[in-house]
Each structure stands twice: as C-alpha cells, then as structure tokens.
Subunit: 396 residues, 2 copies
C-alpha cells in the first residue's frame, strides 16, 4: 500500500460519533482509534523501537521544531528519513513546529497559560517569539539563537524528515487572547494552511518520494463560531486529515471536539493533538476523534507516576518499599510481568535509568491498550457502557 487512505469500519449512529477505521500509510496501517506514541527527537524517551512496538504502539510522532534545531532536518533526510534514522519501521507523524515555536519560544510549557508573553500586556523585550503575517521569529530553546519559521520552511523540514503524516503550519493562540486577536490569528492560520498545502504537495511531487499526507490544523480556542468556521474552511481544502489543536478548557473538550467534527468531512481522519488523559480521550472518541498523541505517558513515568485501572499512583512513595506485588495486576506489559513495585521503587530512589524505561513501557502500554479497547467496544456496540465503567473505576 503506497498511498495514504482512510477507511471507516464502524460508526456509532451519527457520522460525528465514535467510529473505528484504518489509516493506510506507506509504512503500514493504523487501526483507529489509536494512541500515537511521541518520539520528539526521533526517539521515544528511554525506549528502544522494539520496546515501543511491544507496548502495542502502531505509530510514532516526532517534532519538526526539535529535529530542525537538532540534529537538523537535512541530517535526517540524508539518513533516509525518520524511519531509517530512528530504526522505526512503522508509520510516522511529525507535527509542524507551530506549537513549539510559540510555546517554547515564549518560555511557557502549558497551553492554558501560553499567552501572556504574546498578549499586548507583555513588554516586547521579554518575548521570545514574534508572529507576523509571513511567519514567526523565535529563539532556539537550545542556545537562544534566532530562527524564523514560515509555512514553507515547516513544510520543507517535514518533507525532509519524511514522515507519513505531517501537519500544516499554524499559529497557536491561548485562552487569554482577545476575541479580535483570535479572529486575526485564525485568518492567518487559514492563509498559512493554503501555503502549507501548496508547498507540501509540490515538494512531495517533485521529490518522487512515497506519498506524505498533510493534515490541516484547527485552532479557534473556546469559540464555537471560530471552531466551526475553521473546520468548514479547512474541511473544504484537500487535506488528508485534520489535527485539532490549541487551548481547550478540559470541561469543554468534548463540546469543542463536537463542533469541529460536525463540520469536518466524515471520511478523513481526525487527530487530537497533545491529549492522553483518559476521560478526555473517552470524550473525544465519543465525538469522532480517530488518533491522539501526548508526551505524558513517558514524562510522568520519569517522575515515578504510573497508571493503573484504579487510578494513577506514584511509586516513589515509601509505601511501595516492601510491596512485592505486580505493578498493575491487570497488565500484561513487560514491566508488570517481570518486576515488583518494590524493585521499581528501588530503581527510582536510586536514580537508576532503568526506572524510566520500565515505567515508560507500562504507561505507554496502558494508554495504548485503553484506546485499543475503546475500538473494541465501538465494534461490539458497548462503548458507552465501557466508558462509564472504566471511568468510574479510574477516577474513584
């Protein structure tokens, strides 16, 4: 299978509701709903590709911004692309760098508070990212050097990296921006979407390489009119799928996703960017989301936090020092099958690197299995039952 395509297997009731499908890519298929594992710098932190595969991961997502800065996208291209470079033979995604340019560029890490430097209240000198109609100037997170991203450069970077699924370059806004600024930014994102699509198709065609899919990115913060407007506008373009990004209040997540999926073409895949909290994923799948990605499973693992069906626990706590039971009795991952909580607690307290590896394996396997089981429950018609039961146990 050499061309990108998406087939829907089962859809519950209305087309915008929960559905199962398959994304076909030149590097293999992704059964949806699916959780895509993040490998920001062409490596899933602390895991070999074989360990990533063993968690059940179908695809990985790397980051255009980080790989542009280090080692440079041309290095990845010379290596034969992301798959070859990182020894990952499955499907790959890259995000556009739009998020990182503005979030890291501004020195913020949380979407919800990403705006203050960008709003007119912040003095110009304290900003690390500057948006104009043509692109964004930003400071490197590595050495503070100045760089500029345009839609065309983001496409060139992503084309060089060679992932199966790429994202258009967009402007990230936050909940603190004025409505007027949200409108201005959204219109700019629309123009950048057109530039991204034209340039990316041209690059892919000229290179003669396997087809790379491009997803449009939907912004619009918490505003229903803007979210619907951008879904209609970008939905009418020939993107291969859509990413939903930007600042979203947790309590409104299902609602916002619903506005967007009601307007988007039914037959294209929808990716919710940067989300892995179980209740959020259930809400999003219920509204027709097909794929997710998030750094959280490995990030929290490095701090000792692990998911269990009875909620999140932190293995650094003293109560696990002599707990020789299996990490998660319901889990068949490598870590749960071979190590006790006491051993994992010891590795964490001793600062041993194996802790990050073993806990990341479990957390990725847990989140992947959760989304996989949503697919199963959609197939057999038990999704709503499953959701209620699963969430009431996890958030007891």
């Amino acid at each position: 299978m050499n061309k990108f395509s998406f087939t829907i297997d089962k859809s519950l009731g209305n087309p915008t509701f929960a559905r199962t499908g398959i994304i076909h890519t030149p590097h293999g298929d992704i059964k949806t709903p699916a959780f895509i594992v993040v490998g920001t710098k062409a490596t899933v932190k602390a895991l070999t590709p074989e360990q990533v595969k063993d968690t059940g991961a179908q695809a990985i997502l790397a980051n255009a911004y980080h790989l542009y800065l280090q080692p440079g996208h041309k290095i990845v291209e010379k290596a034969g692309g992301l798959s070859e470079f990182a020894n990952w033979d499955g499907p790959t995604f890259t995000d556009s760098g739009g998020f990182q340019v503005l979030s890291l560029g501004s020195g913020y890490k949380k979407v919800i508070s990403m705006d203050s430097d960008l709003s007119t209240n912040a003095p110009k000198s304290s900003r690390h990212a500057f948006v104009d109609d043509d692109g964004v100037n930003f400071k490197s997170v590595i050495d503070g050097s100045m760089h500029r991203f345009t839609p065309e450069l983001s496409m060139e970077i992503q084309h060089s990296i060679g992932a199966d699924i790429c994202f258009a370059f967009d402007e990230l806004t936050s909940l603190a921006e004025t409505y007027e600024y949200q409108v201005e930014a959204l219109n700019r994102t629309h123009r950048w979407a057109e530039r991204s699509l034209n340039h990316f198709r041209k690059l892919n065609k000229e290179s003669g390489r396997p087809y790379q899919a491009l997803f449009g990115v939907l912004q619009g913060a918490n505003h229903e009119d803007l979210r619907r407007q951008t879904a209609k506008f970008l939905g009418a373009m020939s993107f291969d799928g859509y990413g939903i990004g930007g600042a979203i209040e947790k309590s409104k997540l299902g609602e916002i996703v619903g506005w967007v999926t009601e307007e988007l073409p039914v037959d294209k895949p929808r990716h919710l960017l940067g989300i892995s909290e179980p209740d959020d994923m259930f809400n999003a799948v219920a509204k027709g989301i097909d794929t997710f990605d998030c750094v959280s499973p490995t990030r929290v693992a490095r701090n000792g936090a692990v998911y269990t069906l009875d909620g999140r626990i932190n293995l650094r706590k003293a109560c696990y020092k002599e707990d020789f039971s299996q990490l998660d009795p319901d889990c068949d991952c490598y870590t749960c099958q071979n190590y006790s909580r006491a051993y994992l607690h010891h590795l964490l307290k001793a600062g041993e690197r194996l802790a990050a590896t073993l806990l990341s394996i479990h957390n990725e396997a847990f989140i992947i299995r959760l989304v996989d089981s949503m697919r199963t429950s959609i197939e057999d018609g038990s999704f709503e039952d499953y959701r209620q039961k699963w969430l009431s146990r996890y958030y007891h």
Copy 2:
C-alpha cells in the same frame, strides 16, 4: 547442578598460565575466561536483563555496600534474592563492600589515589572511613549517616542478597601506604578472611538455601612478598575461589597476577576485581585469571565513548554528525546492527536516554566478546598470536 564447582578444560603449558574452564553455580554455568557485567544496585545501568543477556553476558556482579544502603539487603532477601529481585536468571556475584566502604567512604574514586585520607598525613576530621581491628566505620555516600561494617555484617548482607558467588570482607590499601601499614592491613585482612569464611558457611548452612560460594580476597599492593604470602595463606583455606584486589600499577599488573597465581591452588577460579582495559585483561588471562568485572563499559558509554577494534572513539565529536556508517563494522551487537554513528551522535548531543542504553549494549558486547575470543584462542592454541594481533590493532 546445585553445588558450586570449577572444572578446567584446557591449560596452556604451566598451570599458572592461560586456561579455560567452567564455573558451575546453582543459577547456571560460566565458561571462563569470562567478563562479568557489573550491576551495582541490582541493575546494569540503562539496560534490561534481556539486553544484558543479548550482549553475551553470562553473569552479573552487584554490590553489597550499595544494596545495604539502598534498598537494604533485607528487602532484596524478602524479594527472594538478587536474581528474583532484578529479574536476572543467570549466575550472580556480590562484592563484599570492602572496596566501597574505603573508597567511597574516603571520598575517592580511583584506586591509585585512594590512600591520602587514610594515611597519617590527613587530619582525622577529614576522614570518612576509620579502620579498626574489628571492622570499618564509614559515612554513607547517600546521606552522610554513619555505619559500621564488620566481616560478619558483610557476610550477613551478602547471604541475604543471595548471590551465587560472594567475597570475603577485606581492607583495601593503596600504593601510598607504608610497607609497615601494608603488613598490618594484610594481617587484618587475613583475620577478617577467617571470620568471613566461618560466618558465611554457618549462615549458608543454617538457612538451607542453595550453596553460595565464597572467594577470598588477596591484597598486598605492589609487594611481591606480601602478594605471595597472602596467596599462600588464603590459598590454604577452604575458599571456593579467589579475588585479586587492591592497588595495582598498570605496568606491573601481569607480574603481580603471576606472583599470586603461582601460589594459589590451581583448581580454584581466580577473579581479577575491577579490570576491563583490554591489554590488562590479556596480561591477566596469560597469567591464569578466569574472570573479570568492571563498571567501565557502561560508565564510559554514558559519556559517549565506545570501543572499536581500532581503539576507543568518542561519538560526541562533531566528526560523527553526518557519519551514517555502522558504529563498529566488526560488531554484530543490536546497536551496531540497527543504528548509525550519526543517530547515536544525535542522541548524545540531545541528551536522550537511549544513548546510554545503545552505547552500553555495544561496549558490554565488545568487552564480553573480547574475553570470549581469548577463550577460543586458548582452546585452539593461538592465544599468544591473537593477543599480539589484537593489541597492535587496538593500540595502533
């Protein structure tokens, strides 16, 4: 095979010369000469046990001092012993903690300069370890708390940890000590050896657990008379094997090992503690050493250094940024078969944890294969030829 034993397969010329054999332990056999991989805190740094096995490792060596401090040897015992705790099903060693009590206790990390705090020149207040005839008081490397090791406690710790091969508690000295002090320390080590052996046999017998072997430890610094004397003294005792420890000038290593192996009983295995430099290992095997251990392969890996047949290189250097060749063209380890130098360079520069894992896999595989190939060359009678060729290429 439930009891410890050692069989010699082939010996070159004189009994003290290079030889091949098999150490039989309750957890499996070790074909010698062999390199034993170090897993200080019940984990080989950055590697899963399966990755360790894949490097060709036959056994791992953990540390009584570190496991006593963290998580506590009683925790390891409750887990079912080191093998069960760390998910390693092969043979295991623990060293006695004598080295760490004095080296870490004194704040030094290098054998050769280990003495100054212990000599009479250092003010008492700056010392972190104090030897008396009954044992050693020392400060914990973790929190500075005071602890005391005696031969009996070291044996209790090692018995709890449950390794197949343990070491008697000894006093480490350095090259800077006076001859008089070396004599005094060696006599103390002899008394501690008797106490270690008696207490360990009693513990092992009373517990009814699988037989744990105990190796005597030979000190004596660079003094031929002391090295021969201790080899004779401890060699006459019922130890299951012998460890050669202490400060050894590199240029004298083969000579010192030769003094000792000439005096030791032929039919017991000999372990050279803390050595993995290729020329040192060739020199030691030539004089009848059967096993080695050392932290270097993983320690230097974490800094970017890797062994190749043409010498050691550091992958952090800029010249590897676009080097898409195999790390070591002569190596069939997982890392060399799947990753380019450019990718490994990228992981190092990006501070990614996978770098330590991949480089540690290669370095362990390299050193293990080197010692394994010494065994093959002894078997087919080509040891001296092989030694000359190998060393002239590596140290070109």
